[in-house]
């Protein structure tokens, strides 16, 4: 009898907030673009687009992995350190310091593959720690946050590695059809993750685990395996981002690669509308979130506001976005 009488018309206020939550990111981005078209000189140029895209690429790639982790109700603080490991490892390989190379191209190929796999393995270790010992994700990934950068520094003895290897650096500097290659990579990853989240069994399992872990287990979903895999993916994404960063800089500095990246990525995920408690995720939203944060910064800079003030604005955006999410659900 309970159901028949339940009042089902949502109040207009919550409905409006719900809409804002759903389309807030798109609206905000559209407004930002319009504002810039009107007030920022030389905004509508390919140059501007490329500048903004290259600024967000690594954040978005890392944030895609983070989105999947957060969708299961977890968090990954180690991404910045894993970027540093991958970034420190790659030059060691293609410069032949780690192992003798039969041919330079072999070195470059290995420099793509090994660092990403190592970073992925560390990511899997995060997941193993979290599922095997039931450690909170914040603490579990804190271990590699601290030790990971140390490992990268030890690998390079803290030295800056400078290099000029165009074949390798294509990943960060190259262009295809005039579009930065890293932007293409980013879009491919975003597309792939969006597709996987929507269409694959694994994607549905991620959302089920984050949405209701008990129900997921009772439905036969291998909760532990799903979690280990998302941390693995987060590690792979971080590794790739690390390679892009050093390619852009033509240098690898283990002290700096990916510093603070975990927080940038989490911010992009939060602003993009993914629930931080898990169960609902949008990879496209994460892309939009990163773009919004970047575009706000660009807008402020282009209009003479100092970079530091942009940080304060970013803080406000994060709080506002999360608060809106809460209101939309209340």
């Amino acid at each position: 009898m309970a159901e028949a009488l339940r009042l089902r018309a949502p109040a207009p206020r919550t409905e409006a907030l719900g809409l804002l939550r759903r389309y807030g990111a798109v609206t905000a981005l559209a407004l930002l673009v319009l504002f810039n078209l009107a007030f920022t000189p030389n905004f509508a140029t390919l140059q501007t687009l490329n500048v903004n895209l290259t600024q967000v690429c690594t954040i978005v790639i890392v944030a895609v992995g983070m989105t999947l982790v957060i969708a299961t109700g977890g968090i990954d603080l180690s991404v910045g350190s894993l970027m540093a490991i991958a970034g420190a490892l790659a030059p060691l390989i293609f410069l032949g310091k780690l192992l003798p190379l039969p041919h330079p191209l072999v070195g470059i190929a290995l420099a793509f593959v090994i660092p990403i796999l190592v970073s992925g393995a560390f990511g899997w270790f995060n997941g193993w720690l979290i599922t095997r010992f039931r450690i909170q994700p914040i603490v579990g990934t804190l271990v590699l946050f601290i030790a990971g950068r140390g490992i990268a520094q030890v690998l390079t003895n803290g030295n800056l590695q400078v290099f000029k290897v165009p074949e390798f650096q294509f990943i960060g500097l190259g262009r295809m059809l005039g579009i930065p290659f890293q932007a293409i990579l980013m879009l491919v990853i975003v597309g792939l993750a969006t597709w996987a989240l929507r269409r694959t069994v694994f994607g549905r399992e991620i959302l089920a685990v984050g949405g209701n872990e008990r129900a997921a287990r009772l439905s036969g979903i291998p909760v532990g395996r799903v979690k280990r895999r998302v941390y693995l993916i987060s590690g792979l994404c971080a590794g790739l981002a690390g390679l892009i960063v050093i390619a852009i800089n033509s240098a690898a500095d283990a002290n700096l690669i990916g510093l603070g990246m975990e927080l940038d990525a989490i911010a992009a995920v939060a602003v993009g509308g993914t629930l931080l408690t898990g169960g609902s995720a949008t990879v496209l939203g994460t892309l939009l979130g990163a773009l919004i944060i970047q575009l706000v910064r660009y807008t402020l800079l282009a209009n003479g506001v100092p970079d530091a003030a942009a940080l304060v604005v970013k803080a406000g955006i994060i709080v506002l976005a999360v608060w809106l999410q809460r209101q939309g659900r209340a």
């Binding site: 271990v143 140390g150 030890v154 304060v312 803080a315 608060w323």
Partner: protein, 327 residues
């Protein structure tokens, strides 16, 4: 919820005494192995340098005991250092109070957002971390701000009192006060009760929101104080310092046996955690000084991470044993 007396007593005891034992062993090791390890120069500079981290970890300890987290402490310390440096020409006291007040503002903001808007502490303090950092950069005009050497301000970082570094005195007093508050005031017990079970604490009629507000404000204030010492010690307010301090502080607190889920913690063990992690770096330096091996200073992060891993796994294993007891 039935637990055997032994099983549940162990994590607390092991957490508390394990870190002390490890600290004692490390000190013994250093004393036996290196000349001048316990010499006053080494000890005093170790304490002087680590007092900043100790203050930040103390605030973090209280926040974590309520079941929360404060990621903003690092940039709050940076903000505190800038404000203190800007005020240092007016004297040591204005610099000190100004830096602390700046920290309090960020802390209060955290507390208000967490309790009033109901946003997760993790996200709230992530946002205020950016805000504090931005404010620090704005105030400092994107560069470090030299402190005035005309006043006694630098004594706050570089001075001695009764042959003991002033920053270490400050940290010592803060820890004594923290321990007193935790163990001998109603507020201190409420902190632990809130972290041990927020619903239960509410049902017991405890002022849960007020406790949280005060704890975040205190964490901010202590971070501001750490910033003051940072500025005084290095002669400049440094808007870009403090990166990663928050996670280092969390690690110290966890190594000290405080449960990240809240409700269980010790101020003294947190101090031991800070010193333990600090000592690892110190010992590495001495080891290299012996010249037999050459471990780069970078190993310290790896070793710290390994320590954290060990502690976390031990904690998890012990609490898991409790859970498995038939309900």
């Amino acid at each position: 919820m039935r637990t055997t007396p032994l099983a549940s007593a162990i994590p607390a005891q092991l957490g508390k005494h394990g870190v002390l034992l490890a600290l004692a062993l490390l000190i013994l090791f250093g004393w036996l192995r290196y000349d001048n390890f316990l010499g006053s120069y080494n000890v005093l500079s170790l304490l002087r340098y680590n007092s900043m981290f100790a203050l930040v970890a103390l605030g973090m300890c209280f926040v974590i005991m309520t079941g929360g987290i404060d990621l903003s402490v690092g940039s709050t310390a940076a903000l505190g250092s800038v404000v203190a440096a800007l005020l240092s020409p007016y004297g040591a006291i204005p610099g000190l109070l100004g830096g602390m007040a700046a920290g309090s503002v960020i802390g209060l903001l955290n507390g208000l957002i967490v309790t009033r808007l109901g946003i997760l502490p993790f996200i709230t303090t992530l946002a205020t971390m950016l805000a504090a950092s931005g404010t620090a950069l704005l105030l400092a005009d994107n560069q470090s701000v030299s402190v005035s050497y005309e006043t006694a301000f630098t004594d706050l970082g570089q001075g001695d009192f009764l042959g003991f570094p002033i920053p270490a005195w400050i940290a010592l007093v803060a820890y004594l006060a923290g321990s007193l508050i935790l163990n001998f005031t109603a507020f201190g017990r409420h902190v632990l009760a809130v972290g041990g079970g927020e619903d239960a604490a509410r049902l017991m009629g405890l002022p849960v929101d007020r406790v949280k507000l005060v704890v975040y404000a205190a964490s901010g204030t202590l971070a501001g104080l750490a910033g003051v010492i940072l500025a005084a010690q290095f002669g400049a307010g440094q808007p870009i310092e403090g990166v990663g301090w928050e996670l280092f502080a969390i690690a110290s607190v966890v190594v000290g046996g405080t449960l990240l889920t809240g409700g269980l913690g010790s101020v003294g063990a947190t101090l031991a955690g800070v010193l333990l992690l600090g000592l690892i770096f110190n010992i590495l330096n001495f080891e290299n000084g012996l010249g037999w091996i050459s471990l780069s200073a970078y190993w310290q992060s790896v070793i710290r991470g390994a320590f954290l891993l060990l502690v976390v796994i031990l904690q998890a294993k012990l609490t898991a044993r409790e859970d498995e007891a038939p309900a």
